[in-house]
Each structure stands twice: as C-alpha cells, then as structure tokens.
C-alpha cells in the first residue's frame, strides 16, 4: 500500500491541456446552443465498434489515460446507449453490424450527437464500400462530426468530440 501511495505522490499530475475544437471536422449541426451548453458540462459517450480493425479503439482507449484525462473534461464513457449523449462510432460498418448500430442509435435518447472515427468511419478507408463493407458510418446513421486518421490521434479525437459539442461560430 505504501509503495502504491508513494508512487501516486511521486508521479503527480500528468494531464495535458485539451485541444481546441476544429470546425473542419463538423459534418452538420442540428442542436441549439443551449442544449450543447448543457451537454458540454457532463457528456456521456457510448463507443460503438461497427467493424473497425481495432486500431481506432486503441487510440480511443488512450483518451482515458491520465495524460488526455477525458474524464477531467466532464466526458465519461458509459456502458449503455440509453445513458449516452454522444455515440463515437468506428467503421467501416460491416454488413453484420448494421442492425446493431441502428439499434444502438435508436436506443440513444434525443438530443444526441454522432462522431464518426477514423478514415474507415469517415469514408470507408482502405476497406472501401462494397462486398461485406457498407463503408462510412454516415451510410447508416447521421453523423455530426468526423475525425479522419488511421487511426486518429487522441488529440484529434478529443478535438472531434469538442467540435461536435460546440456551436459553430455565429450561431
């Protein structure tokens, strides 16, 4: 126990500042400023792997490490879509995951946001569209922000989530 406590003390706080949002990642905007302000303070995220190669998941997991410390920003990963405000979806959407993704989307209460993750989630990536791959997340459910990259870095992922949450300039 002493070793554990000593270690916590020695390493101290390692969290870095969060990135700014990036309007280039915005796909559409449907929620009003007021709703976004309420959500922004305590956002619940449900992650859905709709067919990815598992590369994107590695970086999404990194968001919870003490350096990016996504919980420190008020953003929490939840186990059920019924508790979620935002869906973080990796792709390409496989044919076999289509129904599950639709069900998760329907189970998520309104108002809700969707962020597509990775080149595959944004446009099908290297797997393309065709055969058993349905391609981008937006082919199956509406997407509010898209974070490209293969896989996108945690910083880009954070920026994408914050973009979906922020009203665009002038609204």
């Amino acid at each position: 126990m002493l070793k554990t406590l000593r270690r916590i003390h020695r390493i101290g706080l390692v969290t870095e500042a969060a990135p700014c949002e990036d309007q280039a990642m915005r796909v559409r905007e449907v929620l009003g400023r007021r709703i976004l302000q309420i959500m922004g303070r305590a956002l619940c995220v449900r992650m859905v792997d709709a067919g990815s190669c598992n590369g994107c998941e590695l970086e999404i997991n990194a968001l919870s490490n003490p350096i990016y410390n996504i919980e420190g920003l008020g953003v929490r990963f939840v186990a059920s879509p019924r508790h979620a405000d935002l869906l973080l979806v990796t792709g390409p959407v496989s044919i076999h995951m289509r129904d599950a993704l639709l069900r998760v989307f329907e189970a998520t209460p309104d108002p809700k946001l969707v962020v597509a993750v990775g080149d595959c989630g944004c446009n099908g990536g290297i797997f393309g569209v065709g055969g058993a791959s349905l391609g981008p997340v937006s082919n199956v459910i509406p997407v509010d922000a898209a974070v490209a990259g293969c896989p996108p870095t945690p910083t880009r992922l954070l920026a994408g989530i914050l973009t979906a949450l922020s009203p665009s300039e002038g609204r």
Partner: protein, 494 residues
C-alpha cells in the same frame, strides 16, 4: 507414413526451403493430419479458395519438428457435392470454425458435423446455439455491442446461479470481406491492407505479408531494415502488453494499475512516434524493408524510454504481486491446464502461459532473431495469473531486445527494390506477433496483382479455448478472463 516421409515427399516452396508443399487427394489430406498430429505437429492455419483463384482448393499449414509443411487439396469440379473434403476436427478441434469459414467464403464443405454458418451470418441474423437443459439453468446473451471500448462479438452463457456451465461464442460481426478486398490491390499496396486486418498487430501482419512476398522473389532485405522490423515488432508487443496489464488490474478493481500502465504506454507511443513518425506502426513495414530510417536522436531517446518502461514495470510488478485483492482475482481464474491446452492447440502468449512452449522467434530463429536471441517466456498454471506473469516477463524481454537492437543497429540502407513475383507463385510468411503466430499466404497473379491472400490470426486457435477456460468460473469473472486472453475479432472475422 511418418513425419519424415511426408516432409520428404513434399517439395520446397520457391526460395524458402524452410516451407515444404505437398499436393494431395482427400485420403492423404486426412492421413497427413493424423500422422502429424501423432508426431506432435500443430495445425497453424486452414484456408480455402475458389475457382476465382485458379482452381478450388483447401490448404493446411502445419508446424512440425522437421519444419513447416503445407498440404494442398485441389478440386477439379466447381464447388458442389464433389468438393467435400475430410474434416480435421477430431484431430485439431479448432479446425472446425476454419472449415465453416471456408464453406462460408468459398463453398467447400468438410465432412465434420457442425455446418452452421460462421463468418457469413444468416440473412435474418439467426443462429442455433447449443442449449443446456436442466434445473435452474438460464441463458445470458451478451453483445455484439459490448459495454467497454472493445470489438463486437456475441457471447451466450448458460449459467446456474453465478456459475458458468457453458459459454458459446458467436463471431463474424466485423467480417468486412478482407480476402476479397485484397484482390483490388497489387502486391505492393496489399501490405497496407495486411496491416489493417488487425490493427493491434499491424507490424506482425505487415511483416508476415512481406515475408510471403519477399522470400520467393529472392530479395535480400538489408540487415538494418530487418533489425528495424524486429524493433517495430517488439514495440508492438510491449505497447499491447502494457495496455493489457493496466486493463487487467482495472478489471480486478485496481484502477491504479490502469492509470500507471496507460501512462507508461502513452510515453512509449510518443517515443515511437518520434522514432518512426507514428504512434502505431501501421505503415512502417513495406515490401523490401521499412518505410523510413530512424533519426539517430530519436533512437537514443527510444532506448532511454525502453529502459524507463522496463524499470517502471518491475516496480509495478512488485505492487501487483503484493496486492492481495489482485492475487485473489488472478490466481486460479480461467485456468487451462497444459494437457487441455495441448489438446485444444492453444497457441501464442496464452499457450505459453499453459505450458505450450512455442515461440517462432526462438523456434525458427529467422533473421534477425538468429542474432538477437530472444529468450522464451513460459508458465504452467494457465490461469489469469499465468497470463499476467507472461506479459510481465515478455515486457522485460522485449525491452531488452529493443535496447539491444537500438544499441547495435547495423549501418546501411533500409529498403530494397522488390521485383513483382511470378504469376501463380505462392508464398507463406509467419511472424510471432504479440498474441501468437500470424500467418499470411499470398498467391500472385500476372502483372504484380494479388490472386489470393489469406491472413490467419492465432485467435482462431484460442477463441475455442476461452470457452473451456470460463467453465465453472463465475459470470463476473468473465471480463477479466476474456481480457487475459485479449483475442482478436477483426483479425479473426476477416
């Protein structure tokens, strides 16, 4: 016939005499499997092809004491009644799912009884799970979407109270037609897709792919490039093990472990990015070598980082070992005894934790491991604790290997030109990834196109063993046991 006779009857594959190929009929297909199983041989992979690849056939790759043997059973007729081949499930239980996948994708049916679809789901999504009847037995369905940040799959538990009587897995949810997709690429571009079959094992897949290509065209990979490939492979192993060690602590209620290990992992990824230009090495290995050289300063920094990771891991291991709560959850949970592991063909990291002492880096000693001399890690108890121990040991060993590579990195170029392979030539590459042996079989078509590419993940062997590991454990221990195996979905679903 004994092992030697079969090996003698087979012909060396192109430029790689380490792999021998034998073309057989149905009877010999079965006899080879029997004789090799009796001689302690292991089935590495089983896959098929249809007329699109020239002719329909099934292939089986075996690892034996006398080397690697590839058995090929071609069919003349188009898929139909004539193309039924003898099943191998009684000899190698995990072959069943591979055979079902061969039927789903290529229409060739084995004689084994289980013919339920595996990678290609029924249009209505239905599936016949095996029912467990009895007093007080009920079923718990889980997935395909799981609670955490992990890949999708379905688990069906039959339980009494909290105790698991039976687990049945159903996979294939991330099936995205990777084998077909390979046909859209030439052999050079195919490497990028290979790296994305299973993103956490990108180095192992891209290296295995390159081996399958390079060996047969007889190119000599620059020594420096080979060492950098090994460095990338060991970095991939360390990063995954660190992530798992943290997650395993967390699943046993010790969030401190997750915080500490995920911090270490982040540091390693940043040093990796400084050295290779990216955090995850999805585009580092390419045909002919590696995609870029290491900046000298970043190499030195990476060496220091590896020393740091090694030292910190030793300190954290001490904390894990002394933590009564962790010991309580780890010891005895999800055990696969060595005899069962041998029968089930448990492979890779999980196999080594259950007394299956195989590691291609030390068994085959392909360059550069002939010079690097990796030490084989192992344990016997086969429980979660053993798989945790294995990860601690392998992090230490891989940090040592990484530092050795960085300290003695040979001078010279990092990439050489790879001529297109002859049409119809077949190559096989096998690499010991962090999870286990990754195999890629690559057949070329004219003009440097891909005729057929089959990537094989060790999870094919280990998923069925997980079903055994959880029997008689309690349902709340499943996430921990599952994590201790950490098997691939995408790599398996193709």
């Amino acid at each position: 016939m004994n092992l030697k006779t079969w090996i003698g009857a087979a012909a060396p594959l192109a430029a790689d005499p380490g792999i021998r190929r034998i073309v057989v009929g149905g009877e010999d297909w079965r006899r080879i499997a029997e004789d090799l199983a009796a001689a302690g041989g292991r089935l590495l992979a089983l896959w098929g092809q249809d007329a699109g690849a020239g002719y329909p056939a099934v292939f089986a790759a075996y690892a034996t004491a006398a080397g690697l043997l590839l058995a090929e059973l071609p069919f003349e007729a188009p898929p139909g009644d004539a193309s039924i081949y003898p099943g191998l499930q009684d000899l190698f239980p995990f072959a069943s799912r591979m055979q079902r996948a061969v039927y789903d994708l290529y229409g060739l049916r084995s004689t084994d009884a289980d013919t339920r679809p595996w990678l290609r789901h029924a249009p209505d999504g239905g599936y016949e799970f095996v029912r467990v009847e009895g007093d007080g037995v009920h079923e718990i369905p889980v997935g395909p979407v799981h609670a955490g940040i992990i890949e999708p799959g379905h688990f069906r538990f039959s339980v009494v109270g909290e105790k698991v009587l039976r687990l049945e897995e159903r996979l294939g949810f991330t099936h995205k037609g990777i084998e077909r997709r390979f046909l859209d690429f030439d052999v050079e571009q195919g490497c990028r897709l290979a790296a994305r079959v299973c993103g956490d094992s990108a180095v192992a897949y891209s290296w295995a792919y390159c081996r399958a290509l390079e060996d047969r065209v007889g190119v000599e990979i620059p020594r420096r490039a080979n060492w950098l490939r090994a460095l990338a492979l060991e970095l991939e192993r360390i990063a995954n093990h660190l992530g798992d060690l943290g997650a395993l602590g967390n699943d046993a209620g010790f969030a401190f472990g997750l915080t500490q290990f995920s911090r270490l992992k982040e540091g390693l990824l940043r040093a990796t990015e400084a050295a290779f230009g990216r955090r995850y090495l999805l585009d580092t290995i390419a045909p002919g070598g590696v995609c870029g050289d290491l900046p000298a300063a970043a190499g030195a920094a990476l060496e220091r980082e590896l020393a740091y990771v090694a030292a910190e891991t030793v300190a954290l291991r001490d904390i894990y070992d002394e933590h009564a709560g962790l010991r309580d959850r780890f010891v005895g949970a999800g055990a696969v005894a060595p005899e069962l592991a041998a029968r089930l063909g448990l492979t890779g990291l999980a196999g080594r934790a259950s007394g299956q002492a195989y590691d291609l880096r030390t068994d085959l000693r392909d360059a550069p491991y002939d010079e690097l001399r990796a030490a084989k890690c192992g344990a016997e108890t086969g429980d979660v604790a053993a798989r945790v121990t294995l990860r601690f040991d392998e992090v230490a060993e891989s940090c040592r290997l990484g530092r050795r590579i960085l300290g003695d990195l040979p001078a010279g170029g990092v990439r050489t030109n790879v001529p297109p392979p002859a049409a119809d030539s077949l190559g096989i590459g096998i690499i010991e990834g962090w999870r286990g042996p990754v195999l890629v079989a690559l057949a070329a078509a004219a003009g440097g196109r891909i005729r057929r590419c089959h990537p094989h993940d060790p999870s094919w062997q280990n998923w069925p063993a997980l079903e055994h590991a959880v029997i008689d454990n309690i349902v709340p221990d499943f996430p921990l046991i599952n994590k201790s195996f950490n098997l691939a979905y995408s790599g398996h679903d193709l």
